[in-house]
């Protein structure tokens, strides 16, 4: 497995639990509290910082497991990376458009921030799943 593929596994392994824990923490409040009183800022900051730190640590561990491969990537790696990122970007754009529409509709900050957050997390997950599928299966860039 190349370092780039390991790196995508790290994103997936970190992003899914991060999203699930955040959703559990916030949704548990949404059910019995008015939206304006839901405490979502701190959980979201923890989720974002935790996601970044865990990704960095995961990549350090992946690089340490095979130092000789850590700085190697080739044409196929780059093509797979571009392909996955392109698909992930659509979700990021969808989240941003949803946030824009919510802002225009004067929605609560909760919904606007969460639309962007969910778009970003979904983009990370779908992008890494797409890249892993490309590594594991057949990939033609044309």
């Amino acid at each position: 497995m190349t370092f780039m593929e390991k790196s995508n596994w790290v994103v997936l392994v970190v992003a899914v639990p991060t999203l699930l824990v955040y959703a559990a923490v916030v949704l548990s409040q949404v059910l019995g509290t008015p939206i304006a009183e839901v405490s979502w800022v701190q959980p979201m900051v923890f989720a974002i910082v935790g996601f970044i730190v865990a990704n960095v640590l995961g990549n350090v561990v992946a690089a340490a497991s095979n130092p000789g491969e850590a700085d190697k990537n080739d044409q196929r790696d780059r093509e797979i990376d571009h392909f996955g990122e392109r698909i992930g970007n659509w979700l990021m754009i969808a989240g941003s458009i949803a946030a824009l529409v919510l802002a225009m509709a004067m929605a609560d900050h909760f919904w606007i921030a969460n639309a962007i957050f969910l778009g970003g997390m979904a983009a990370s997950i779908v992008s890494s799943v797409t890249k892993i599928a490309a590594y594991r299966g057949s990939f033609q860039s044309w």
Binding site: T2, D74, Q75, R76, A134, G137, S138, F139, Q140
Partner: protein, 74 residues
Amino acid sequence: MVKPTRVTNSIRSLRFANGEMTQAELADRVGVTRQTIIAIEQGRYSPTLEMAFQIARVFRVPLDEAFQYADEQG
């Protein structure tokens, strides 16, 4: 992404004909990862024209001896 390719190759037989060259050694000489050589050999990835030339050059054969493009099936 999963579009089948009509490009086939003889890399495996060329490796064996060249002193049983390993995939890792071929990868080093072409400057790619071993996983890319494996994907090309198995027909899961079609290399760029430049990479194809580099692979053929390692075996000192013309490009169409290393890579073939099958006729369209009627």
